[in-house]
Amino acid sequence: MKNLYCLFFLLPLCVFSQEKITGHITEKINKEEVPLSGANVYWLNTQVGTVTDFDGNFEISYKPEYKKLIISFVGYKTDTISVNSPKRITRSLTSTANLDEVTVNMRQKASSRSFLQSQNVLNVSSGELLKAACCNLAESFETNPSIDVNFADAISGTRQIKMLGLTSPYILITTENVPSIRGASQAYGLSFIPGTWVESIQISKGAGSVVNGYESIAGQINAELQKPMMDNKLFVNAYGSGNGRFELNTHLNTKVSERWSTGLYIHGNMRETEFDKNNDSFLDAPLMQQINMMNRWQYTDTENGYVGFFNVRYLNDEKQTGQTFFNPDKDRGTTNAWGSEIKTQRLDVSGKFGFVNPEIPWRTGGLQLAYSHHNQESYFGLNDYNIQHNSLYANLLYNSIISDSRHKIKTGLSATYDGYDELVLSENFSRVENSIGAFFEYNFDNLGDLNFSAGIRADVHNTLGTFLTPRFHLRYSPWDKSAFRISAGRGKRSANIFAENQSLFASSRNLNIFGSGGKIYGLDPEIAWNYGISFMQGFNIFSRKADITVDFYRTDFVNQIVVDWENPQQINFYNLEGESFSNNFQAEFNYNPFAHFDMRLAYKFYNVETTYLSGKKQTPLTPNHRLFANASYETHQTAKGGNWKFDATFNYVGEQRFASSEGYLNTIGLSEFSPSVSTLNAQITKVFSPNFEIYVGGENITNVKQQNPIVGSDNPFGTTFDTTYVYGPIFGSSYYAGLRYRIN
């Protein structure tokens, strides 16, 4: 009886006591056991792990429920040890150099859609990003059918992206889930994120999650950046193009201590050669130079479940465009020559801290903090435009479950501050926006054919007011390899009318705001609802994998700031009176007809209409039809890891309506609709080894060009001058070559 009492006393004590196991890991070199430092030691299916020290010793906490200890190290065979009692462990790892060659038959697809997520998300891996070798985030969407890439105007060389037929201000663009391309950086921000910095991209169509804010309307694009712990120790990418553009990217990553890693990422690009192939006296592509530097720190403590990132980024970007004989020092502010300079400086500081409870894996928390200072000074002919934007963002997030892991919740608080100072022509605008909000999202997953997430957030905003943002996503799989999805949600934002439409300054148009006493330039907030439905089915054709996705999205604006280009002498901004919507249908087919060959075909239909003062019209420069095709092929890898990669992308853009009346368009040599445009890009990569590869490619190989992209180029200070009637490529074909070198 006495013994039994003792046992009862001991039992609860056992639960609380912490035991540790020690051990020693070695490797065999010339028949001698040598300590192996830096090997990973962790318990199977837990977050508990450690790394061996310089002498190959380790210490790890032990619990009776931990059964299998894993010891792994790059270049060595992973070892699993069954542990039944806490005793000292000694092991010798075998180098994989001595192992038989292992062939892996499954390749990870470069971009993929999940059958299981409730949102319609396309994940674009770094492999896909390499298909278009150049150069920044804007261009990395060119091999992707969900995002359309257009030229913003005829002079700045900037690409503008669209989703569901709506321009980028309606897309929430985040880097590592922190809203990043917004406000002042809306027009050129995508070109401020170098392509090599991006590790992967997630594109979600339709209403996003409430966690990242209320601004997303058409969808969300998230770019994950390279992580110092995972990225190569050294990475160098050099690129040169026949269109005069040169780029250099360098990544340096190093492990500072057991828990800290740091990376330095340096990007530079420039174009110093002047091109005027169409002899309109204007540069076909701007002269430019950019220096972009980022330092990242990554902290990982798997034993206690802490992770963190700390980033500092500085950017200096200068562009000069206009007439070839324009000299900024002499001709600025005169009508001697038309020219433009855009100078941007930007500083970003951000931090991210996460906590995963190692004992209770569903209980996680995170805090994101970001500060940015953006300063753009620019002029377009005689029009001055400067903008300064200071932004603060804070988001506190907590994840847990209700009763069991089928019911997950996310909740948290967020706060934002945005201060804008603008000089538009000769008028000053200044605005401060701040908000505080709370969100709650419930996810249900029956671990089989159904899951959904329902989220709501409430925000108090000084210019947008106090409002609720509901978002809903559901996925149902009626049969094998299928996913049926629906989504609905509301978005609200303030339109930065000048920053978002900077191409208006490169025209002779007069600027008008027909405000009604609203708080944002006298205008009201933009509000829209987005509804989506999609179906995806995977199947096999001749026993090779294929899948087809069809989706339909509708965006209905409750209020929109209408950007009215219809009068060729004016640009007018006003609150929507009447209907404005976007309907988008997309069908996408992916097929892997034989080993190492992937193809993707997509058809997209757009019907985007807005009620202008002059009536309801199709939005200008938005085609009804688009076709997309991509084919990629890789040869078999040699023993050294070398191979060839071939990639080709075809785009067809149907005819697009120009703003203005047909009568006026005829006087400037255009008709009501643009011709359709087909372009072809191709790239060949020769991989010599995992360390070194070179690539060559061609953009717009069939040399399609828009003739006379600048209206009134012979008299740039006259009344018809306009650079915004752009529907196709200006430069024609160009060829490029580059190399990538990496040491792991």
Binding site: F9, L44, E65, P361, L447
Partner: protein, 119 residues
Amino acid sequence: MKSIIAILGIFLIGATGFAQNKNAKASIKVDGVCAMCKERIEKASIHAKGVKMATWDVNTHQLDLIYNEGKTDLTKIQQSIADSGHDTQDIKAKDEVYEIIDPCCKYRDQQVIDDHKDD
């Protein structure tokens, strides 16, 4: 003496009360062969009252559980899994339940096990 026992008794109730871990962890062996089995096993586990998280590994056949000791115990959880057709380390599924699971999940059949080797 009686009072000492009483005090001890009260102390014991308190101690055992604390010992009932709301997030108890356990790993048990459950037989199965494929992703469909995984879905069935995890579903059966989580449907058992008090189970908060269940993850089954196709390769190791190990089911990692986190459950509330106050509401359930390993026997009850294993019974729920066995009722879905999967043998656990302590409870064997009844033949009539095993018979109705999907043909590709017949983990007792050597032929089926071999078919899944390359998965």
